[in-house]
Amino acid sequence: MWQLGSNFASTGTLPAPLAVMSVIGAEARSGALFINLAATLARVAASFVLAMALGTALGVAMGRNKSIDRLCDPLLIVLLNLPALVVIVLAYIWVGLNETAAIAAVVLNKLPNTAVTLREGTRALDEGLDEMARVFNLPLGTKVRHVVVPQLAPYLAAAMRSGLSLVWKIVLVVELLGRSNGVGFEIGIAFQLFDVTRLLAYALPFVGLMLAIETFVVQPVERHVSRWRPHGA
């Protein structure tokens, strides 16, 4: 279909698959493809882990404690609705054009999402099981691992799903605006040259990588945590 489309469109708008493949090959041979992919992936991983950890902590705290909830709720609403671009530009201006600012900007974009999801999850925790854990005097570690986390697992999975997609979209924007490597940076250059072939040559391997992570990491984890459900989730 792509091939068919490229026959009709001009080369500048939609290049043929083979042309894109040859650019991917050339970039791979020079090593630039892998260096950029690795740089982007490292940023995705760092900001994803940070956003999940901080967002989960905040969400659980807000779900458990009414005063924390009231205190943080307005901030959360602001962060949820603040355009990603505003956060990114402010981070670069205030912190500087460096890695810390880049990661912080992505984390701030994802964190409110995670917090809201996990707050709902915490509010929905089963009180009966909590009482059971108290009467049987389960140690805190056991309680968290066997009573609380399994109940939060669907919420964590939902936050991770939407989180991964959000984070990698924003990482690319962050790279475009203020980093000198990564997939986003390369796409920025391609944009300046109106080079669609090069743009696709960087976008496609990245999409493939994200699909692979989804299929081989996220889905097996989900299947494992929901194996107790009689009919699957």
């Binding site: 009966g128 009482e131 059971m132 009467v135 005097n137 056991t142 066997h146 009573v147 107790w228 459900r229």
Partner: protein, 236 residues
């Protein structure tokens, strides 16, 4: 383990802002190894009393005295198992039982075939058996049971009662069992406390004089009639 309890007053605040007294002047103590049944019409505060003793509810006037180091095994009205853990894991999580004790409990409650199942795959009767097994797996000094056999068919309930009794006697756990079934109370307990309708007070506190093993049919019927007439008065 000895249990000493005195509740002067326990009240709930209703949604409309009124206070509803559920327990009033309920005081008794249990000797170590005593098996006490708590009878009373529904809504008289039996479950509330169990929650107070187990420490889940501390908002009341009065006191509960338990030895400083004690282990509580509790069977709630619903099984309250962890759906995401297998039967074996559910039992081991709470338990400090040795392998031998664990195997013994599993055999007594006939759970050997179900250890790898998840609670969602069990019938209610089986899930209740797992909940009872779990209460024993902690090697309880104090065993609290909240209508553990309700909604089970009569023959299964009778068999479970026997299994429960055997385990309680072996472990010599002080036991408090909430029920509204007089026959169940007589067949299990060596002491019966009858609560009035809300606000619950103690109407009667009977020790079944004859040791349970020597309880004759005629005697059991007599006790049953006595308690039933008490309860009839209580709810009228």
């Amino acid at each position: 383990m000895e249990l000493d309890i005195s509740i002067v007053r326990k009240a709930f605040r209703t949604a409309s802002g009124q206070t509803r007294v559920v327990l009033h002047d309920v005081a008794f103590s249990l000797r170590k190894g005593e098996i006490c049944a708590l009878l009373g019409p529904s809504g008289c505060g039996k479950t509330t009393l169990l929650r107070i003793i187990s420490g889940l509810d501390s908002d009341f006037e009065g006191w509960v005295r338990l030895p400083s180091r004690h282990r509580i095994g509790m069977v709630f009205q619903e099984p309250r198992l962890l759906p995401w853990r297998s039967v074996a894991q559910n039992l081991r999580l709470v338990g400090s039982s040795s392998e031998n004790d664990f195997a013994e409990i599993v055999v007594a409650l006939r759970l050997s075939k179900h250890l790898d199942h998840f609670p969602g795959e069990l019938s209610l009767g089986l899930a209740r058996r797992v909940a009872i097994a779990r209460a024993f797996a902690v090697k309880p000094d104090l065993l609290l049971l909240d209508e553990p056999f309700v909604s089970l068919d009569a023959s299964l309930a009778a068999r479970l009662r026997e299994e429960l009794l055997a385990l309680v006697l072996k472990r010599a756990a002080t036991t408090l069992i909430v029920t509204h079934d007089v026959e169940e109370a007589i067949s299990l307990a060596d002491r019966i406390i009858v609560l009035s309708a809300a606000p619950g007070r103690i109407l009667a506190d009977r020790t079944i004089e004859a040791p349970r093993e020597a309880l004759t049919e005629a005697r059991a019927i007599k006790i049953k009639e006595e308690i039933q007439s008490l309860m009839a008065n209580a709810s009228s």
